[in-house]
């Protein structure tokens, strides 16, 4: 993640320098499976697609702090509390890696935060579901972070260098998230009847939203709609939503068996012929409803985010005032 541009035009596509030769250079890098770096000229569509995707990803990370942060004060032990705080701090870090990556494309993170706050940019619809019990913290780690890893691992090879590098860091850290979630459910599943029921209830509520995280169908007939084909051609996306969802299902069903939990899908069964699990129909009406703002927690999440940002204004102002006061005494060039 290099920082912003070092002085020259952010994107030659917006200048007269952007010729067919430059397009050819870009196409050649993509065809070669080379990475695009911040100061390379790139088509405007590539740039705007990446800004939208990275921003939405960053927003998801920081909004994702809320459903879990909800349980920090009520974690069942000091061990669980320390783990949960580290995890929520990681989510903040992931958001910052991603805002840094987005800024290399010539946007300002304050502008992106404004768009989150006024609803012009989205975040993953999964975070609009409430965390009703402690078991939900486990289910988020196991299912939501598990699905996120499935989505994010291919992004480590994304054609845009700063995004790919951010995702490598994120993926390293996510595996702790998934394992701690599984461990929470593993502990509950071997506990009292009430604890087992709590774990089952969480799995029941999070399974379908987790499958929706991969996005609407985009293979077969649906492949001609949406952005998947273009994003694959650009090397931003490596697998279709449906392929990733299938991989996630195939990975997760045996884990659910191990936990002794059932997944809430009567049609879920192994298909010998395909060599994959079949699943029942996903309620895409629910997905679109939640994405468009009508989920259980949409307004609460954005409202909380906005309040946190505004309540922190004095800290930012104080830091700036302190820096201005001490600017004269600042020692630059002291390399250790």
């Amino acid at each position: 993640m290099y920082g912003n541009d070092f002085g020259e035009p952010l994107n030659a596509a917006e200048t007269e320098d952007y010729t067919s030769a430059v397009q050819e250079y870009f196409d050649g890098l993509i065809a070669d499976d080379q990475r695009i770096e911040p100061r390379d000229a790139m088509p405007e569509g590539y740039r705007s697609t990446l800004i939208r995707q990275i921003a939405q990803h960053a927003h998801s990370e920081i909004i994702g702090m809320q459903p879990e942060g909800n349980w920090i004060t009520r974690a069942p032990s000091l061990r669980r509390k320390a783990i949960l705080m580290a995890k929520v701090q990681d989510e903040a870090g992931h958001g910052l890696y991603l805002y840094s990556a987005a800024e290399t494309l010539g946007v300002d993170r304050a502008e992106l935060l404004d768009k989150l706050h006024n609803g012009r940019q989205k975040y993953s619809s999964i975070f609009n579901y409430p965390t009703l019990t402690w078991a939900d913290v486990g289910a988020i780690g196991w299912l939501v972070d598990g699905a996120a890893i499935m989505n994010q691992v291919p992004l480590c090879r994304c054609s845009y260098g700063p995004y790919a590098r951010a995702m490598i860091r994120v993926c390293k850290e996510e595996s702790f998230h998934q394992r701690q979630g599984f461990e929470i459910l593993w502990t509950l599943a071997r506990g009292t009847d009430e604890q087992r029921a709590m774990a089952q209830d969480a799995a029941d509520r999070w399974w379908w939203p987790a499958l929706m995280m991969f996005g609407p169908p985009d293979s077969g007939e649906a492949a001609t709609q949406g952005h998947t084909a273009q994003n694959m051609a650009w090397g931003i996306k490596r697998f279709s939503n449906d392929d990733l969802r299938q991989k996630f299902v195939d990975m997760t069903v045996p884990q659910a068996d191990k936990l002794g939990l059932t997944l809430p899908d009567p049609d879920l069964r192994w298909n010998e012929e395909r060599g994959h699990y079949d699943i029942g129909p996903i309620d895409w009406d629910e997905f679109w409803r939640v994405l468009k703002g009508d989920g259980p927690c949409n307004s609460q999440r954005v409202e909380h985010r906005r309040a946190a940002h505004e309540d922190g204004a004095w800290v930012r102002e104080a830091a700036a005032a302190y820096a201005a006061k001490h600017a004269a005494g600042e020692v630059r060039g002291a390399v250790a």
Binding site: G3, F6, L96, A319, Y322, A323, E330
Partner: protein, 107 residues
């Protein structure tokens, strides 16, 4: 902030006017500092602290550098060919360029 006000501050500075710093991490003694990412901060001291919190949460480093992004001078990708070309025709800088008898040891 609306789209048309973004140019109101220095390149790389955010809405509070905080400049952008590039972060370099030395993973352990004996290795060079490597670029890890960037942070915004009001000054270099805060940039170091922000960088520590963001890039070394898992003991990824024993030393950190932060450098103002606008203090970096970079080569231009569009001049890449002419800039690096002078090295292209000097294959004699590589040891494999030389024909020597096969039975000479330690060469």
């Amino acid at each position: 902030m609306s789209d048309d006000t973004t140019a109101a501050h220095a390149p790389g500075a955010n809405a509070q006017g905080w400049p952008l710093f590039e972060v370099f991490v030395r993973a352990k003694r004996g290795l060079s500092h490597v670029h890890a990412g960037s942070v915004h901060a009001p000054d270099a001291t805060m940039a170091l602290r922000n960088a520590r919190d963001l890039y070394t949460r898992r003991q990824e480093g024993v030393s950190l550098w932060v450098v103002r992004s606008d203090d970096i001078t970079a080569s231009s990708p569009t001049e890449r060919d002419s800039f690096f070309d002078p090295a292209a025709d000097k294959v004699y800088r590589h040891p494999t360029f030389y024909d020597v008898p096969e039975d000479v040891e330690y060469l």
